[in-house]
């Protein structure tokens, strides 16, 4: 090995400028590539976050328009009408849906009288749901129970923005964060004079609000559910802005047909309202549209960057091969095999790439620290570094392949010519 490396180092010393440029190029590529890949990973992680509702089977229909006058009795009527659509397995009301880019948020503490600015509070997004919402959304109960009929009937908004009842269902992640190593059942959440007992814990449901997920992406699952009686469900959030979702669940196969029928049915019932029907999967895609477009941009940037780096390596190696044709001929004439010539250029490239990535890893780390400080970037997981290093090694070897083959093809007779 030593025998192989020494002549390479000697020849690199003779081509300091070009060797320096290759190393700089690889270092830069490594620094940017690691961070770009980690950003792609971060966005893909977000896009693929688990959401324990029946995403594929849910349709959501929203009625809006300030001219719409709805009475409490309209809701059971609407629900009955929607339930009669063939293929509908469950239907319920909800104040909004996870990841629909609007939402109600509140801050709850674990101690009586907890005020909004208590440091120990959890900042949550809450959903006010009507009877049957657990089935309509397809929530997975882990512990306890969902709301009973009394809890639905006795919960209104009563001048507050949160339930006037005393029951709440929270997600497993939130339960674990607030009461680590204990069961959350029967524990109380407080906000000023209000208090709520945890009656059930459901599998993790995502929340829309970015505010809940600062500090390194925790709080994706800070969702809680309150029951709400039909009397105060529709239009309850201020007369200026009556918003409500009807959530319908069917099999994914029936979904599009169910959605169309539901929109038509509500058009019949509310001729002057604006009625918007959406598949839940579309709402989710829309929520993550920015993340996914950023991820694709970065993928393209990485690909172009790798291509540019490869072409650069190819260009410089070709130059070296051409410059050393005579020396290669001499080596061939004194007995070096084609394989040895090939190996020489491969090893040379390997050494340069290694030097480049060594500097590049430091650079990658520095860039990462800068991005964490100034942008919403999380710490790069360690395994991106070796991934990036291997990528550049492979890229270097592929790029050097063409010129190295040409070098190996130099016939020994070149040695006898004077260029």
């Amino acid at each position: 090995m030593d025998m192989a490396i020494r002549p390479i180092l000697a020849s690199l010393r003779a081509h300091r400028t070009t060797a320096f440029l290759i190393i700089a190029e690889i270092a830069l590529a490594c620094g940017v590539l690691c961070n770009a890949m980690s950003m792609i990973g971060q966005n893909m992680d977000d896009i693929r976050l688990r959401n324990a509702i029946d995403e594929g089977g849910i349709s959501v229909v929203r009625i809006s328009g300030s001219e719409v006058k709805t009475a409490a009795s309209d809701i059971p009527r609407d629900l009955a009408a929607l339930r009669n659509i063939p293929g509908v397995r469950a239907v319920a009301t909800s104040s909004d849906m996870p990841l629909d880019n609007s939402g109600l948020t509140w801050s709850f503490g674990m101690h009586p009288g907890a005020t909004m600015n208590d440091i120990r509070n959890a900042y949550v997004e809450y959903y006010l749901v009507g009877e049957g919402a657990d089935k309509a959304m397809g929530l997975h109960l882990i512990e306890g129970r969902f709301f009973d009929a009394d809890e639905y009937a006795n919960s209104t908004l009563n001048g507050e923005l949160v339930s006037s009842g005393h029951a709440v269902v929270i997600t497993a992640s939130l339960a674990k964060r607030m009461w680590p190593r204990q069961s959350a059942l029967g524990k109380l959440l407080y906000s000023d004079a209000l208090w709520y007992a945890v009656v059930g814990v459901v599998d993790d449901v995502l929340c829309s609000d970015d505010g809940t997920r600062d500090a390194g992406g925790r709080g994706f699952y800070n969702s809680v559910f309150f029951p709400i009686s039909p009397a105060s469900a529709l239009g309850s959030l201020g007369p200026a802005n009556p918003v409500n979702d009807y959530v319908l669940r069917s099999t994914p196969r029936d979904r599009d047909r169910v959605l169309k029928a539901a929109v038509a049915k509500l058009h019949q019932l509310y001729p002057s309202a604006r009625i918007k029907g959406q598949r839940y999967t579309d709402m989710r895609d829309q929520y993550f549209a920015d993340a996914s477009s950023l991820a694709w941009t970065l993928v393209v940037v990485c690909a172009v960057m790798l291509a540019v780096t490869a072409f650069g390596i190819m260009g410089l190696t070709s130059f070296w091969v051409q410059q050393r044709r005579r020396q290669i001929g001499i080596r061939r004439a004194v007995g070096a095999t084609r394989g040895q010539i090939l190996g020489y250029f491969r090893l040379e490239n390997f050494l340069l790439t290694t030097a480049g990535v060594a500097i590049g890893m430091g650079l990658a780390f520095a860039i990462n620290i800068y991005l964490i400080k100034h942008y919403e970037m999380r710490l790069m997981p360690w395994y991106y570094l070796p991934c990036c290093v291997v990528t550049l090694w492979v890229l270097g070897q592929l790029a050097v392949q063409g010129p190295a083959m040409r070098a190996a093809a130099v016939p020994p007779v070149v040695a006898t010519r004077s260029v």
Binding site: A29, V32, G65, S107, N121, Y123, N241, V304, V308, G312
Partner: protein
């Protein structure tokens, strides 16, 4: 000597055309990526109201009779909205004081606006006062603006833009017609041209950059309150406010919902207004809520900076594209170094024949410069393509992705700068070729 260097450089470009093409293409991609992101940043940070915005200031005084409302939680601190708005009584007091050249209070509201017949349409409504239209340069194409007297009388009048007039009445001639807002009649007294400054600096709580969102109807804020329109967000409410009126349809008397902008034409006026605000702040009985008197007077640029109006990912993309350009530059420097050193023997002969180091260096710098200029020419259509791709994304602000004259000039300035930087190392290296040595080996 310049002419000769240029000629040699041109000849040099034609030798090894594949390497030249690769270098040009690499520069072009790097420049195009940088220029695409820079052009977007440039458009987003442009002055929203050229000629006017330097005189406009956002005035704010803390008058909320409640503790300061920063909420904290396990995950993070989060503040309530902080758009430096005012409660109605304070906005009215500042309007009445009339200390600026012009002043107006304003808030963006959602409203369903109906015409004579047909379905009402959802519109963005600006509840404001009479100075808004002259102060912010809204162009009236027909009719008149409302007066301070009509503000005071809370007269239900409206200025609508020509597109809304067309939508509601089928004609832009809508003066004297009636629009329905919440079952109340507002008489149309003026028709304006569509107005959508970017960014929407006077109402960042509603939106920052808009593709097609704009206020299409302007009404006196008193009249808007009277018909029951209410803001859906506030910066803070007095403790006495009913809870249900603190969050969604907020109480206009006790919650901050109106932004107050004032036009001040000279630095003296700014100073005077600032002390007026300070004085106003000191009269507020906030001591019992543990707050000190607070007031602010912010210029448009300062306000946009404070509110972080330019999306983070726009800056991030500029950084990314910049580092990509740097990579391309190192790459091209490498390619040029290889290209130049190939003619080591030739340079050796030139040097032996008496060419100075400077002449050799100049020739190669020209050659590098030309590669990058060609790259710049090729980058132009690529940049336009990049911007077109950006416009296809629907992120509100991406509609602004265009190349103006300044950025077009910047593209070539950047190309030249890149050319010199990229050429420096390879040219220096080749100018160091020893005359004797090269001649001998050849």
């Amino acid at each position: 000597m310049m002419g000769y260097s240029m000629e040699l450089a041109l000849r040099g470009l034609r030798r090894y055309p594949k390497t030249t093409a690769l270098a040009v293409l690499t520069v072009a991609i790097g420049l195009a990526a940088s220029m695409t992101t820079l052009a977007l940043l440039h458009m987003l940070s442009a002055d929203p109201l050229r000629g006017r915005s330097q005189h406009l200031h956002l005035a704010w005084v803390d008058t909320v009779l409640a503790k300061s409302q920063t909420y904290r939680s396990l995950d993070s601190d989060w503040a309530t909205y902080d758009y430096k708005r005012l409660k109605t009584p304070d906005a009215e007091a500042l309007l009445a004081a009339h200390k600026g050249t012009l002043q107006a209070a304003m808030a963006d509201l959602d409203a369903q606006v109906g015409g004579d017949k047909g379905e009402p349409s959802n519109e963005q409504l600006l509840a404001t006062s009479s100075d808004f239209i002259p102060m912010f340069g809204v162009a009236l194409q027909d009719g008149r603006n409302w007066t301070a007297a009509e503000d005071a009388a809370r007269t239900p009048v409206a200025v609508i833009d020509s597109e809304l007039a067309q939508k509601l009445f089928g004609t832009p001639k809508a003066i004297g017609r009636v629009v329905q807002i919440k079952h109340h009649a507002f008489r149309v007294i003026g028709v304006s041209q569509p107005y959508a400054p970017q960014p929407h600096f006077y109402g960042l709580n509603a939106w920052t950059f808009s593709g097609n969102e704009r206020e299409s109807i302007f009404v006196p804020f008193g009249a808007a309150i009277d018909v029951g329109l209410a803001s859906s967000s506030t910066d803070g409410c007095d403790d006495v406010t009913e809870k249900s009126k603190q969050y969604i349809a907020v109480d206009p008397m006790h919650c901050e919902w109106l932004a107050f902008w004032v036009q001040l034409d000279t630095p003296q006026e700014v100073t005077a207004y600032r002390s007026f605000l300070d004085h106003y702040a000191q009269q507020q009985p906030l001591g019992s809520f543990g707050k000190k008197p607070q007031s602010q007077l912010l210029s448009v640029q300062r306000w946009l900076t404070l509110q972080n109006a330019i999306p983070d990912n726009v800056r991030l993309n500029v950084l990314l594209a910049g580092s990509f350009l740097l990579l391309c530059m190192v790459n091209v420097a490498g390619l040029l170094a290889a290209k130049f050193m190939r003619r080591g023997a030739e340079v050796g002969i030139r040097r032996a024949l008496g060419a100075s180091r400077r002449a050799v260096m100049l020739h190669h710098l020209f050659e590098a410069g030309m590669v990058c200029l060609l790259g710049g020419v090729l980058a132009w259509p690529l940049t336009l393509l990049g911007l077109a791709l950006l416009r296809m994304q629907d992120q509100g602000f991406t509609d602004l992705a265009r190349l103006d004259v300044a950025m077009f000039a910047a593209l070539f300035a950047l190309a030249l700068a890149v050319g010199v930087l990229v050429g420096l190392l390879p040219s220096w290296r080749v100018s160091m070729v020893q005359p004797g040595l090269q001649v001998k080996s050849a």
